[in-house]
Symmetry: C2
Subunit: 152 residues, 2 copies
Amino acid sequence: MSQETNGMMEGWLALTQIQLSVAAKLEQELQSKHNWSLNDFYLLYFLSVAPDKKLRLQQLETMIGLSQSAVSRLVSRFEARGCGALRRHVCEEDRRSVYTALTEIGEAEVAAAYDTFIRVLRESLPERELEAAVETMLAVNAPASEANVSGD
Amino acid sequence: MSQETNGMMEGWLALTQIQLSVAAKLEQELQSKHNWSLNDFYLLYFLSVAPDKKLRLQQLETMIGLSQSAVSRLVSRFEARGCGALRRHVCEEDRRSVYTALTEIGEAEVAAAYDTFIRVLRESLPERELEAAVETMLAVNAPASEANVSGD
DNA sequence: TTATAATACATGCATGAGCATGCATTTAAT
DNA sequence: ATTAAATGCATGCTCATGCATGTATTATAA
């Protein structure tokens, strides 16, 4: 466990903590203000910026970063709430696929949730810590990592 | 959804994707090479760098970033495997607390897993994308964000 | 001392996630 | 045209997690 690997470790742990805590804050605010989970928001957001505001499940997988089954159920659950933000219909060019499309109601809701999202991001992102964590990792992993570049 | 907020969003999404994919790679390698989950590794790692190589559950909560119940069960499951890397004993100064201590067997296993961890981190960390994502977020969130600092 | 509150961990329960698999549809091979 | 393989989504199962709560211990108040 050398100096360098330790820096790499510290940087990664710090980055992970930051990601976790900001994501928790986002989840919390989206939940209380819009009754959405973070993944609900990602789902609707990616639809809102997609051409024709519709995507097949497969496309959502990589965007949201969930497994195929998880996306299938995420959309199912959301649709089952009956809030009318989503609509699913079989893709006519390939009847195996299913399109998930954003409705006008959904568009408005996404826009509102987006504002919340960005606000919380601005407020809760620990900029200095994030920059420090990343710099630590990059410095440690650089070719000439012999030099002591740590601030403290 | 202005230019600036969009940059913030893009940066956050990129950061999240990076964290997810690297964590998945770490999990995968730890699982195949050491039969540990990522949280298993974090647990044993934090013990290995703790004074006397032991910690109370409460201390592990914030370190690992899990709830109290999740940590309780994480330790329980690990101990229940009977691989002898962990030992739990009631804290004598405060009999409500439980110490989770690393054994010598555990120390050796952590050292091996640590090497794997750092190697995967070095190999799979997308440095340029990470730096770009963070810079995007910081630039967008900076006071003088009028200036166009985006590369494309 | 005794009663009340606070603390630390364990556990029942509900939920979301991944894996393996099933079903329907499309594509490729013959 | 027929058959086999591949693709896209749904679903049964298991498991890890968070919340609410229970239990044991310690701290505080009277």
